[in-house]
Structure formats: structure tokens, C-alpha cells
């Protein structure tokens, strides 16, 4: 969960909204997506269920956004404005392979 004063929170929200708004203004937004909660369950073979996301990796998936782009480069350009960088996060750009 993000922490900070109400002003910081509001400023953070604005940055996210501006970023999503910018992608939408380029008509490249498919779905703004969602944040993912921190808690979760992990299922393994043979009905093994444990709490929490994978603990082995340092980075957990915090959220997703779907965009449309003609190339990786274009998608990377869109990702560059993501406010997650200002709090030390990273963005991974992945294509969706149609099933």
C-alpha cells in the first residue's frame, strides 16, 4: 500500500492519472488495469496452498496496464512515463500472445 501524507498521495494519484491519460490521449490504452493487493495465495501441484506471493523473488507484481503498440519500442516509450519509477519500482513490458 502506498504511504505518505494526503498531499503526497494526491500528487501521486495525479501522476498516475496523467500517465494513463497521456496513453489514452494517444489512443493506445486498452485497459487501465488494476493495482494488485499485497496479499495472496500461491497454489502448487498436489493441492499445496500457501499464503502470500512468491517469497523467493524480491519484486512482486504490483499492477498491470494494457496498451496497444505497434512495436516493443513504442510500448517501451509509453512505459517510460510510469510514476512507479519515482518510488523505485520497475516496469516490465510484455506482449500478449493471443490464445
Amino acid at each position: 500500500m502506498p504511504t505518505g501524507s494526503p498531499e503526497e498521495m494526491q500528487s501521486m494519484t495525479k501522476q498516475w492519472m496523467d500517465w494513463i491519460g497521456s496513453i489514452a490521449a494517444q489512443n493506445k490504452l486498452v485497459d487501465r488495469g488494476n493495482r494488485l493487493g499485497e496479499e495472496g495465495k500461491v497454489l502448487r501441484p498436489n493441492n499445496v496452498v500457501t499464503d502470500g506471493p512468491y517469497t523467493e523473488i524480491k519484486e512482486t507484481l504490483g499492477g498491470y496496464t494494457l496498451v496497444k503498440a505497434n512495436s516493443f519500442e513504442e510500448a517501451v516509450e509509453l512505459a517510460k512515463g510510469c510514476p512507479i519509477f519515482s518510488v523505485g519500482g520497475t516496469v516490465e513490458v510484455r506482449p500478449i500472445d493471443q490464445m
Binding site: 492519472m17 497521456s22 489514452a24 490521449a25
Partner: protein, 412 residues
């Protein structure tokens, strides 16, 4: 109102009422009959009134004539038995029982049901607007042609095809069922929205006609907002949007029908009454769990009724555009968002964003870039404005762009 002005106005409103009620009675199969009867009624009224003067209650006079003509026609052509009350044995006494209900309630119900029939997803939006103007607003074919910058023949063809389609698909003049109403209402609202825009942004030089189009779109929207079936949040939101826009109608055009830009408008000409109404309907729209694009556009229009440039105003407008673009992309919303961005975050930030839009066939895109570069890099500004001028098609647009070019050149 002067006699000369009153009659066309009266004909227009009463035409739509009579056609809706009769149309509801005979269905789309025979809609022409309803139109003919209304037309004949007005012809007779024009002849009679020019000799005898206006009757005391012109609307009641029209209804009586229309009723009698309708009865005659239905009787003569067996339509009553085939369509209205099939299976009833024909006898003279029963012919007198044909009820043509021109009460206020039935008029409004019929108009609403007609609205759903006309604004039907089966026919193209353009045809929906045309039919609405003809049947729901009582506009003449010539007026419709004028509004669309088209000719009578094209409009006639368009309306004919649309009516054929509705007939063929057996579209009924009725309220949609409860489960469908939201989806069907969406089509109706889109048509009203386009109808309003047709008036507001039309290239037609006929200012009176343009204002009438807006007023008609609002009147139909009021009918929806007043009816318990259709008094839904997006209906109120759209009405609010129209009120806010219409409040600037007199301020945004000069005597020659040319556009006066928002920044240059005389706020004394803004209609306070309509602004208050807009606020009323915006409040009424604030229920339910769905934020429609009309809510967002109405909220943007609300902020535009505040002339002072405050940080709060432009930040709010920017965020509303950010949301609007997620609901529905349009080039104009993208451009307006970038303008708001300039106001809220400065021109430098906005230039970077504007250049990502790449709307290179849109003159407004270059006009925006011209505006953003003005005072930052005037040479760039001029290059963009020249590109805008080259792409623009209408005279008012060209004039506005030329003014910006001249302004920059004066300072050099």
C-alpha cells in the same frame, strides 16, 4: 409573438405531437399517413386562418381537424380494421369509436415511444438525426438539408430508406422492456447528443436554425428527464451538459454567425439561468454506480462556466479529460486534454505530450501546437499555424487561425 413568427413555430411543435400520436396508432407501416394528415391539417389551417384569423386556441383547432381527418382516412382505407383493431366486424357504429387520444399525457408518451423507435440501432446515426428532426421536431426537409449542408433530394432519400428499414424490421413504436431500456437509451442519448452538436458546431450560417436544433435536442432531453421510465443518471448528465453549453450560445457567435473563442467571450452574455439549470441536472445525475461520458463532459462544461483561470479549475478539467479519454477516445478530447495540461502544468510539458498525439491530418492539432509554441518558439508556432491553415476547411476556422498568425507577426 408576431403572427408571422408564431405560425411556423406552432406548426413545428404541433406537427411532432400529431405525427407521434397518429404514428403510434398506425405504426411505422403507415407512418406516411400520419405525416400526410398532419401536413393536410396545417395546409387547411394556413388557408382558414389567413381568411378568418387565428382561432382562440390554435392547438385545439389543429387537434380537432387532425382527429377528424384521421378518422376519415382510417375509415376509408380499412386501416382501422386491419391494423388498429383487427378482428372487429366492420359496422358503422364502431367507426365512431376510433379513439384518437390527444391528451397531454398521451402526446408525451407517444413522443417518447417514437423517440425510441426512431433512435434505433438498426439505422445509421445520420438517419436517426434526420428522422428525429422531421418527426420529433417537425422540421421541414429544406431546414434539415440546410442544417446538414445538404440538399432536399439527399435528405428525402435518407429519410425514406430509414423508414423502409424500420418498417421491414417491424420496429414497434413502444417503450423498450425494463431489461433493454439502458442499452436502448444509450442510442437515444447518442442521437440527442449529435443533434445538439449539429446545432452547436454546425457550419451552417443560419444562426436561428442552429439555435433551434440545440433547443429541440434539449426539449427532447427534458421529456426523457421528466419521465419516470427514462429519468436515469446519464439522461440528466447529458441535459446538464446541454444546459452549460447552451448558456454560452449568445456569447459564442457574433452578429455574422462567426465563432467568438471562449477566452474572448463577453461573460455578461452567458445565460445564468441555464447555468443554474445545468447545475441542477448535474446534481440529479450524481446517483447510480456508472460514470458515463456525459457525466464527465458535463463536469468539464461546468468548470467552463467559471471564467477565472484558477489552478483548481484547470487541474479538475485535466483530470476529467484523463478519465473521459479512458471511457472513450476522441481526437478532440485528446487535444482538449493537452490544452488543459498546458494550463495546469505549463506549455513545455504540454508540447511534449502534444507531439505524441500525431494527429497530422487534423487542423486543430496544428492549431494547438501553434498555440503552445507561441511565446516559446514563435518560428515553430508560425510553421504549425500555417499547417493548420492549409488543413482547415471552413471560413470561420481559417479566420481564427489567421488571427493567431497575425498576432505573432505583430510582435516581431
Amino acid at each position: 409573438m408576431e403572427h408571422q413568427e408564431m405560425i411556423p413555430h406552432l406548426f413545428r411543435t404541433e406537427y411532432s405531437k400529431i405525427v407521434s400520436v397518429l404514428g403510434k396508432l398506425v405504426g411505422f407501416e403507415h407512418i406516411e399517413i400520419a405525416e400526410d394528415i398532419a401536413g393536410d391539417t396545417f395546409l387547411l389551417a394556413t388557408e382558414t386562418w389567413s381568411i378568418k384569423g387565428l382561432p382562440e386556441n390554435p392547438a385545439a383547432w389543429l387537434y380537432t381537424v387532425a382527429k377528424n381527418r384521421a378518422k376519415d382516412h382510417l375509415k376509408r382505407n380499412n386501416i382501422f380494421f386491419e391494423k388498429v383493431k383487427p378482428g372487429i366486424q366492420r359496422s358503422n357504429s364502431e367507426l365512431h369509436e376510433i379513439e384518437i387520444d390527444l391528451s397531454n399525457k398521451n402526446i408525451i408518451d407517444s413522443q417518447l415511444q417514437m423517440m425510441f423507435a426512431i433512435c434505433h440501432p438498426l439505422i445509421p446515426a445520420e438517419a436517426q438525426i434526420g428522422l428525429s428532426l422531421r418527426i420529433l421536431c417537425g422540421f421541414g426537409i429544406e431546414e434539415i438539408a440546410d442544417a446538414f449542408l445538404s440538399n432536399k433530394e439527399t435528405i428525402n432519400k435518407r429519410l425514406f430508406r430509414a423508414k423502409e428499414k424500420l418498417r421491414k424490421e417491424k420496429v414497434r413504436i413502444e417503450f423498450p422492456g425494463i431489461s433493454e431500456i439502458d442499452a436502448r437509451l444509450e442510442t437515444v442519448l447518442t442521437t440527442l447528443y449529435l443533434l445538439f452538436n449539429e446545432g452547436y458546431y454546425s457550419l451552417s450560417q443560419n444562426t436561428t436554425l442552429r439555435k433551434d436544433l440545440c433547443m429541440e435536442a434539449m426539449r427532447l432531453n427534458y421529456l426523457l428527464a421528466d419521465d419516470p421510465h427514462t429519468n436515469k443518471p446519464p439522461v440528466n448528465a447529458l441535459l446538464s451538459l446541454m444546459c452549460f453549453h447552451a448558456s454560452r450560445f449568445d456569447a459564442r457567435l457574433n452578429q455574422n454567425g462567426e465563432i467568438i473563442l471562449y477566452d474572448d467571450q463577453d461573460t455578461a452574455l452567458w445565460d445564468e439561468n441555464l447555468i443554474t439549470q445545468g447545475e441542477f441536472y448535474l446534481n440529479r445525475a450524481a446517483t447510480g454506480d456508472k460514470l458515463s461520458k456525459y457525466h464527465l463532459e458535463a463536469a468539464i462544461a461546468y468548470w467552463h462556466t467559471k471564467k477565472d483561470d484558477t489552478a483548481e479549475k484547470w487541474e479538475s478539467i485535466l483530470q476529467l479529460y484523463n478519465q473521459l479519454l479512458q471511457v472513450e477516445y476522441s481526437p478532440i478530447a485528446a487535444l482538449n486534454r493537452t490544452f488543459a495540461l498546458a494550463k495546469a502544468r505549463g506549455k513545455q510539458t504540454a508540447i511534449i505530450e502534444a507531439e505524441k498525439l500525431k494527429l497530422t491530418t487534423n487542423h486543430l492539432y496544428y492549431a494547438l501546437l501553434g498555440y503552445l509554441y507561441t511565446d516559446i518558439d514563435n518560428q515553430q508556432a508560425l510553421t504549425h499555424l500555417q499547417a493548420a491553415l492549409k488543413l482547415s476547411k471552413s471560413t470561420p476556422d481559417k479566420e481564427t487561425i489567421l488571427k493567431s498568425i497575425n498576432k505573432i507577426q505583430e510582435y516581431r
